[in-house]
Symmetry: C2
Subunit: 546 residues, 2 copies
């Protein structure tokens, strides 16, 4: 991007990481220590690189109420790596009472005269470790109260959000650090639409600041309003560090409309066996000098390898068809060979990486549509107990091919789709997911699009959200009307934009009190982007223009 | 005892407290903050008195897994009061790796160069906040990991306990601080009997040390082996600070056999409405100079008042008998007057004590034996909602009088005793309790004493302990045989002593493997002395000689 010849007294060095999910699967005999080992690596990396501070994008903890062990390990590591004599070489200019409002110690930890902090950690909370209870406390607040973390970006109002930056100066460089802890996406979406979110800016020398924002929301479009479009964010920002999304897309990408960069570090542990989690896990070393920045990617060494591959049985007619004698055994043998191959690849790749755990995560998605039968996965698992970290769920049977072949939506027998299936290891949710994965490649616009249906069904499954269908139909009707008005010229995006306009108008009506949905809370589906969500549209990673 | 003219550089000032039970009833609208307010008072007191350290006797937390709020408040208060610039004026001479073995920071917190500790807290764990899980961590260890508490006295072995003291020196005064976190009483009893508990002593100048021991066990005899007799403890000790027992008996009492003193600070919150909890709650300011000590009692100001009184209806024949018209109404009126009187007394006593919560705890135990009927307590409660902290359980109906009248144990109809009762608010447990409360005043020796039965039934009720009855009968048989042998001359204590001898012999047989109970763990009944336990003998407060 531009040269940072050397680290100097004007250059901020910031370690950025997110979604560490401490405590994930901590009771698993094989993977139990993974998240702890990786936090240790991250903190060690921060120390070795003598960073000015660590910035975490939420979900430091996997569980809202982390286990005693988890808290103990976290406190221990933070105390071990973030306390010490190395001086902190920046100062905070903003009102710290406003910035750090969740403890009785409303100041940055390194300025506390009773604590010897060498690496301050600044963290927003995620959806996993979000505040709960009457006191609105989250697990991070225990770390705050101990003086080991600076929890910021906690908005206490549900009506209006004012994000007040932590103003930090190091030498000539002035950094405005904005943060917003996780909020249910649909609520936040609405608040943005209703202009209830504002980012405060320093009064003087506005252009002299490097503006960094940390957010923990859906960036992928999980539904019409179930994500935060980048365009919602103020264009004065320079860099957005986007948490919550588990796929590592840490290299800053330019949002050409808003002219800011977005870096999505991704999680440091795979919490699902989906393709997004298979990309190499990394953290970032961000350098900021004046208004220039450079982000150095640091691959994590302790992260367990994860290999995922797809097999479409129908593509192997030279080897077997549903009518081949002992076809199921042949398929199983084929899968065995495939997994063995993946394991060999994993082993080659791990050569010399002594910090990488020995057993990789392996997922083979087997599309068995076309008349094939699923084989017994528990017997299959047994063969890999010694080599794979997740022997029990290596194989995932899917039926994508068949769904792709459905040409006309009206021909889908929904009843059949939701009937209990006899296929071992396949759940109704999987079928629903498969359906929408297939459907998303079809016609983008219809009265009840896959998107709408996906959301509606998902909300029914998740929360019994009674208004979901009604709301969706209204939305889709509007959309279809617009489509008809503009037939032949509009794009999906344009339509969405107009729908948004209407939503704003509606919101204004509601504000005035002449709507009847004013108090209706459209609850959010709190899940990570790579955690078993129902992808209702090709992932746009939040780049859809509305 | 002896004069401490002034605090000087040779005098240790130690604040002693125990059973703070942080988080007890924290969700109660009235009493929710009680434990927090009192911890605040205790810490403030320590600060004002410029103590050298705080010594806690266990059960700092009420719940094994304290709520987030509870941990947050605790961390906050400790950070507020125990960190600061006041220098710590004593040094530790012992091997701290041995003393503080539950964190990765095996040294006293005030010597950690990254923490500015002004008042070190030393604490053992209690039965409420005892270590659990594979890691053997307890809630205190979160405070340890944060550097706010020094958790000591955690024995990791279940076979052998070696208590290694923290050796502390201030000026000429040398203090050996021993601690033993809570262990199920019966297990610890057995370990003592089997000589598996040892207290290490400094090699040199043994007589130069003041030996202070903190323990968290039953001191009252809850059953033959369900407590720790003071005589089990080494006689080189100077003072034992006894936790777990909630009644404040903080004034050191001399054990004339062992020639050490025992101070039982008691809890700082009433966790049951029993007489033991009604004594004034206090903490202690212990001064130690050379081998001399002085304990100053400090009444707590923030503790909610608790008044308990007994009413025996049959004693008021001038006012009513079971045959008086509208007798139940009259009894209710009488109780109303009684409670009002208690409230007036509470108010008088509270005059000028602005820190004492306004609403007291009130318990009226109504002995309605002799043909009276219980009145409706929920209607009664309503009348005191505004004045009493525990309106729902002011009245406690008991039937002591009737049981006192039973002259011959064989005449008790056990079947009847355990039949469901129609009396509102009375549970089977209450009846059992009443029975034994009455029974304890009768013949002390019989084939199945009240003590034995009490224990057996309690264990059945609590844990379905199948061997309890068998074990008891064996024990009681031995006892009776001894009694017969020594008819007319022995005392209960002497008999117990002989039984102990036999137990020891049996234990040795078991050790050699020629018994069949070797692996049988006699589980303990984990309850506080004043928390609804079944008092199976007149409380001896552990002074019974065995």
């Amino acid at each position: 991007m531009f040269p940072f010849s050397r680290d100097d007294e004007d250059t901020f060095k910031i370690l950025i990481a997110t979604d560490i999910h401490l405590g994930y699967l901590e009771k698993d005999a094989i993977r139990g220590n993974d998240t702890y080992t990786t936090l240790d690596e991250i903190l060690q990396c921060a120390k070795q690189n003598e960073v000015d501070f660590i910035l975490l994008g939420g979900d430091l903890f996997h569980d809202n109420k982390p286990s005693r062990q988890c808290l103990h390990k976290c406190l221990t590591m933070l105390r071990k790596y973030c306390m010490g004599d190395s001086p902190v070489r920046f100062e905070i200019l903003s009102d710290q009472k406003v910035n750090f409002n969740t403890t009785q110690f409303p100041w940055v930890n390194y300025q506390d005269e009773n604590l010897n902090i060498s690496i301050p950690v600044f963290s927003i909370h995620g959806n996993h470790d979000d505040p709960t209870g009457a006191e609105g406390l989250c697990a991070l607040d225990l770390l705050s109260a101990s003086g080991l973390v600076n929890h910021f970006g906690h908005s206490h109002s549900v009506e209006k959000i004012e994000i007040s930056p932590i103003l930090i100066q190091k030498g000539i460089t002035k950094l405005a650090l904005y943060g917003l802890g996780s909020i249910p996406d649909e609520r936040l979406y609405r608040m943005f639409v209703n202009k209830q979110v504002s980012m405060l800016r320093p009064k003087e020398d506005q252009d002299g600041w490097f503006n960094l924002f940390t957010i923990h929301q859906n960036r992928s479009k999980h539904g019409p309003t179930n994500y935060i479009p980048e365009q919602f964010l103020d264009d004065f920002l320079d860099l957005v560090v986007w948490g919550h999304e588990h796929e590592c897309l840490i290299k800053p990408t330019l949002n050409e409309q808003q002219l800011f960069y977005v870096s999505q570090p991704g999680s440091s542990v795979a919490t699902s066996l989906s393709p997004g989690e298979a990309t190499k896990k990394k953290i970032g070393l961000l350098r900021v000098k004046g208004r220039k920045m450079k982000l150095q990617e640091i691959p994590l060494k302790t992260v367990r390898q994860f290999f995922i591959e797809d097999v479409v049985l129908a593509d192997h007619q030279d080897c077997f068809t549903p009518d081949t004698p002992h076809v199921t055994k042949k398929v199983e043998d084929y899968c065995f060979a495939k997994v063995t191959e993946m394991l060999d690849e994993a082993e080659r790749e791990r050569l010399g990486c002594r910090l990488t755990p020995e057993k990789p995560l392996i997922r083979l998605r087997v599309d068995y549509s076309g008349g094939f039968e699923a084989f017994n996965t528990s017997r299959f698992s047994q063969k890999f107990v010694d080599r794979v970290a997740n022997p029990k769920d290596i194989i995932h049977f899917i039926r994508r091919r068949e769904q792709k072949e459905i040409k006309d939506e009206s021909s889908i027998d929904y009843g059949k789709l939701f009937k209990p299936t006899a296929v071992e290891g396949l759940r109704v949710e999987d079928l629903v997911k498969q359906y929408f994965e297939a459907a998303e490649q079809k016609v983008q616009l219809s009265l009840l699009t896959e998107q709408g249906m996906g959301k509606a069904i998902q909300e029914f499954v998740d929360k019994d959200e009674k208004e979901a269908i009604e709301e969706l139909i209204t939305y889709q009707l509007q959309k279809t009307q617009l489509h008809l008005q503009s037939r032949g010229v509009t794009t999906e995006q344009d339509i969405d934009a107009e729908v948004k306009e209407r939503s704003i108008a509606k919101a204004h009506r509601l504000e005035r009190g002449d709507g009847d949905f004013a108090d209706q809370d459209v609850s959010d589906v709190n899940m990570d982007s790579d955690e078993g969500s129902v992808p209702v549209a090709a992932p746009t990673r939040g780049r859809g223009c509305i």
